[in-house]
Amino acid sequence: MTDHLTVTTRPITGGTVLEFAGRLDAVTSPGALRTIGGLALHRGQRLVLDLTRLDFCDSSGISVLITARSTALAAEAALALVAVPRGLRGMLARTGLDAVFPIYPTLARLEESWVPRP
């Protein structure tokens, strides 16, 4: 298990994918927040957080997810989570956050349901 976090940014149709690999905790969260703060999101776009390779997420990590959502909402963009690990899924369910984050098992499933805004 890595002790750090790698955030990879890549474009997709109508938005951006941030891929988190490693640990999202008190140590790595500030860097992740800077990356999110530096995104140029536009109205109607989508911000996708790909968590396939996320090993660990604590309350600081939850803050990052919430900030990503606020950032997207402020830009009138949409946020989606992809491949949420089981433990994190349980934590989101318990804290009622599964109701505010659209969650998709895979990027492919996200793409199937993606309807670009006119």
Partner: protein, 416 residues
């Protein structure tokens, strides 16, 4: 025994080669006599006979010691210049090492000066042997270590100060932690109440909190929760959360209303790019003729456990409550619980906002419930003791704060 200083230790001026040079500085250097260098070297020189008698000593060392040459040469031994501790060290360590290896270096000693004061020195000694290999005398070089000792004392002082600072900070953190927790839980007539708090580390103010307090009309408010993050920022939220919950409860004790007030306050306080939030269970306890009724609401907190009088254990599931402070329009959910004599309710935090998303989860809620089922029927005191025992068995594995709050109606405490 008096003996004139030999010439073993002085070179001869006329043996120094004199290369032709017109550099006046270099010439001056060559004029420097070995005798003068010996006498006024920036270190002390001392030659002693094998029995320790001082045979030769240079002017530098005499100056440091404040002695006259005649007082020492042929009259005193090297050990006479040492402190009591130094003499013992000489007997047990220095002399044997010299005998065995013919040399010893890097010794930190203190010399006694004529005025009684002490001079910290670094000492190196070498045995000089004659052509037949027999030891003839001991040559000793002595460096003034006052600067070095002062440096070491300074290091020590700085370290002691740092230790004191650290203790002070830890004490402050512990004191602040105590102010964040109730010093003593209120006594609820006819109920057993127990609580436990374990900070993950001594110098970090944790983010777990709980309280139990009287409300109007003979009812009681209680809460237990966990704020996000660690350290001073978490402590600030913990404090705000505790006082907001108490104030909100005094105004309108309805559990969902109380959590809404807290959500508004936290969200206003920490809105922006650094969201701060907490999970919390809040309840109001009303004594009834056959036990008590609890109205409880959750803000994303792990469910309370109910240990029934018949030994059964169940969670008080309240689906739908969101964490507090992160969302402007968070939704909270509530439920009602009836407790009879012999029942115990337990609220807990267990690194709840810390979850390993891969690999082994330390213990999940199902395992906790299975454990609690083996504990009941019990009392608040018994339940807290059992869970703290479990935590102790985790030992080093517990890397987050843990707080417990339990309430029970002891058997045979039917109210009038």
């Amino acid at each position: 025994m008096r003996r004139e200083a030999g010439d073993d230790l002085t070179g001869r001026d006329d043996e120094v080669p004199r290369p032709g040079t017109s550099d006046p500085a270099f010439s001056a250097l060559l004029e420097d006599s070995a005798e003068d260098l010996y006498e006024h070297a920036p270190c002390g020189y001392l030659s002693t006979l094998m029995d320790g008698t001082i045979a030769k000593i240079n002017t530098t060392l005499l100056g440091w010691l404040g002695h006259h040459r005649d007082d020492l040469v042929g009259r005193r031994r090297f050990v006479d210049l040492l402190t009591v501790g130094g003499r013992i060290y000489h007997e047990t360590h220095i002399a044997p090492m010299l005998g065995m290896h013919g040399a010893i270096g890097g010794l930190a000693l203190e010399l006694r000066r004529a005025d009684g004061s002490r001079l910290p020195v670094m000492v190196t000694s070498v045995v000089k042997t004659g052509p037949d290999g027999t030891a003839q005398l001991v040559r000793t070089t002595i460096f003034d270590a006052r600067d070095r000792r002062a440096y070491e004392r300074e290091l020590l002082r700085a370290r002691q100060e740092a230790d004191r600072d650290r203790e002070r900070v830890q004490k402050l953190a512990t004191t602040l932690q105590r102010t964040l927790l109730p010093p003593r839980l209120s006594t609820v007539p006819g109920m057993d109440v127990a609580a436990y708090y374990h900070p993950a580390s001594a110098d970090e103010v944790g983010g777990d909190f709980y309280d139990l307090f009287p409300l109007a009309g003979g009812t009681w408010g209680f809460f237990l929760g966990d704020v996000s993050g660690k350290g001073a920022p978490a402590a600030a939220i913990t404090s705000l959360t505790r006082y907001t919950l108490r104030a909100a409860a005094a105004s309108d004790p309805d559990p969902i209303t109380v959590l809404r007030v807290l959500n508004t306050v936290l969200h206003h306080e920490y809105n922006g790019t650094d969201p701060r939030f907490c999970t919390v269970l809040y309840g109001v306890l009303t004594p009834t003729a056959d036990g008590c009724a609890i109205e409880m609401a959750t803000g994303g907190h792990p469910p309370a456990a109910l240990l029934r009088a018949d030994g059964g254990a169940e969670f008080v599931d309240i689906p739908g409550g969101q964490l507090v402070g992160a969302l402007p329009d968070a939704h909270f959910a509530g439920t009602r619980v009836r407790m009879s004599p012999g029942d115990t309710i337990m609220l807990y935090t267990d690194g709840l906002t810390e979850a390993r998303t891969r690999g082994r989860v330390r213990h999940n809620e199902e395992e906790l419930l299975e454990f609690l089922a083996t504990v009941g029927p019990t009392t608040a005191t018994g339940a807290v003791a059992a869970v703290t025992g479990l935590l102790r068995r985790f030992g080093e594995g517990v890397d987050d704060d843990t707080a417990l709050l339990a309430l029970s109606l002891p058997v045979g405490t039917a109210r009038p």
